[in-house]
Amino acid sequence: MASPDNIVVIRDLTKRYSQGDIEVTALNRVSLNIATGEFLALMGPSGSGKSTLLHIIAGVDRPTSGECHVQGVDVARLNESQLADWRNQNIGFIFQTFNLIPVLTAAENVELPLLLTQLNRSQRRKQVAAALDLVGLSDRSHHLPRQLSGGQEQRVAIARALVTDPALIVADEPTGNLDSHSAQDVLTALQSLRRDAGKTIIMVTHDPKAAAFGTRQIHLEKGELS
């Protein structure tokens, strides 16, 4: 089912959940292929199901039915612990609100996913330094998140997302909390990750300007691809 060119293969994916007495269909029989090395912009209005789709691809949420293969692995079949390990090894996350741990420095935040690997301390430090260097924040490695600007925080989050060298990076409205200048920096950084490091990037956004940085844009409307 998984073609070597497609890092993500989705077939008839449906997600329903209950909101009180009402059953909401967030995704309705969505089928989608995402090629390796693509920078996919997932667009749509609020409640269209784009974040739900992103969460299922990233192994944070489970579908009600259908299949979601990422690098040949049917994510829905993994149990809780397997999913945690799988996410750590295969997915890099970037959030709208950066989600850095406030009590840890930039370097310690970037190091967090590496604590779950077999790397020793010096190997971890080396990779953290390389990741921070890649986002241009080597000189801010000992700063706490509150000592950084929003744009810098998001670049630290990008460094954290790529430090484990995952094949797939998922970004949920990564520029939603940034001014236009910082947003430009972050999108350029994501673009260069695809171009220079060959990463596949899936970005949820409702901003057409941000979506224009992607190599492909798809739209979701009421849980269906339009």
């Binding site: 944070v60 809780e80 989600n99 996913p113 779950l116 954290r160």
Partner: protein, 387 residues
């Protein structure tokens, strides 16, 4: 892999306003726990310090204390010249037949009277107790109604300073010396001449006999001989063992201490729980992020329990520090063995401090358990959406 400990430590520090109250609460509980236990340790230490391993204590079979024991003159004469008993340079057996009695004296603070143990002993009895040293004045002279008082008792009773006089059993006694019992049970005694004590307190017999054995094997032989001799309804034990068994006074203090600590720790557990619940509530999104990054539920659980334990350990250390100024402070209570004033010191030993900190950590772990389970069970997506 666990979360880095710096993460937990900094989270405790960064929320210092909310954690401070909990830390202080735990510190107070630990301080009370350590101090009450320090009283019990002080009492036990005073008893266990007392004996000399070379000495054998002989009391009436079945008696629980010297004050309720009786050794007749005939019994004393029977065992006086046993070959197992060591002799001094002049060839005299190193034996002391003591009289122990209780007198009631007014306290120095004017808060009524208390019983005091008076030991009548001979010069040989003093030789058998080398840990007792004269610190001021002189030793009593036989027949002159003179006594020497322990310095610690002198600080607690109205008429026990050198030159003071007090009346008991129809006689007026003069305090002529103060001694230091060397942190032993003798710190709770008044000493006078044995024969004078027998006469004044109208005793036909002695309370106990203390002998110096020629060797450890001889000590055992004395014990065995007394056990098998039908004429001697007595019991002989090493002096060390005898005094170490006189620690039942510490038991009610220990029980009270444990009860107080348990009652207070319930409050401390809830305080820790409250703090940790608040912490989990404030860090919901952080927890969701850690889960997304690949940290398992059990790591989150362990992280929050560790944080609670860390918080409590800080309280524990603070509690020990709070209690430390009372280390060595002298106090007294009525002994349930002798029914007289027993003077002893608060003793905060390293092991007691460790117990205090372990106690605090237990409080922290119990208090953080439910919040930690809640943190570990938070649904990832809902956590990420938390503001």
């Amino acid at each position: 892999m666990a979360l880095p400990i710096t993460y937990n430590l900094r989270n405790v520090i960064i929320r210092w306003r909310s954690t401070l109250a909990t830390i202080i609460g735990i510190a107070l509980v630990v301080a009370v726990f350590v101090l009450v236990q320090a009283l019990a340790v002080g009492l036990e230490k005073s008893a266990s310090n007392t004996g000399d391993p070379r000495n054998v204590m002989i009391v009436r079979k079945g008696s629980t204390a010297e004050s309720s024991s009786m050794v007749s003159l005939e019994q004393f004469q029977t065992l006086h010249y046993w070959p197992e008993i060591a002799r001094d340079a002049a060839g005299k057996p190193i034996v002391s037949a003591d009289v122990l009695t209780l007198i009631s004296q007014p306290r120095i603070d004017g808060k009524g009277e208390a019983n005091v143990s008076v030991r009548g002993l001979t010069a040989m009895g003093m030789e058998l107790r080398p840990q007792v040293t004269l610190v001021s004045g002189r030793w009593f002279a036989p027949g002159k109604r003179e006594v020497a008082v322990s310095s610690r008792l002198a600080r607690r009773f109205a008429s026990f300073h050198i030159g003071d006089q007090f009346r008991t059993a129809g006689n007026t006694f003069t305090v002529v010396g103060e001694f230091d019992g060397g942190n032993t049970a003798f710190d709770s005694e008044v000493w006078m001449d044995a024969d004078e004590a027998r006469a004044i307190f109208d005793r036909q017999s002695y309370s106990s006999v203390l002998v110096r054995a020629v060797s450890p094997a001889a000590a055992l032989a004395i014990s065995a001989k007394i056990d098998t001799d039908k004429r001697l309804p007595l019991r002989a034990d090493s002096e060390v063992k005898y005094y170490s068994e006189q620690t039942s006074t510490a038991l009610p203090i220990k029980i009270l201490g444990n009860f107080l600590a348990t009652a207070m720790s319930i409050g401390a557990v809830f305080a820790a729980m409250n703090t940790m619940y608040a912490s989990v509530g404030a860090r919901t999104r952080e927890i969701g992020t850690l889960r997304v990054l690949g940290f398992r539920r059990r790591t989150i659980l362990a992280g929050f329990i560790l944080e609670g334990a860390l918080l409590a350990a800080i309280g524990g250390v603070l509690g020990c520090l709070l209690s430390l100024p009372l280390h060595g402070y002298s106090t007294g209570t009525m002994s349930f063995n002798t029914f007289s004033e027993t003077v002893f010191q608060f003793r905060i030993t390293p092991w007691l401090a460790c117990k205090g900190i372990l106690f605090a950590i237990t409080v922290g772990i119990l208090g953080s358990l439910l919040p930690a389970i809640r943190a570990a069970r938070l649904p990832v997506i809902a956590s990420l959406k938390s503001v």
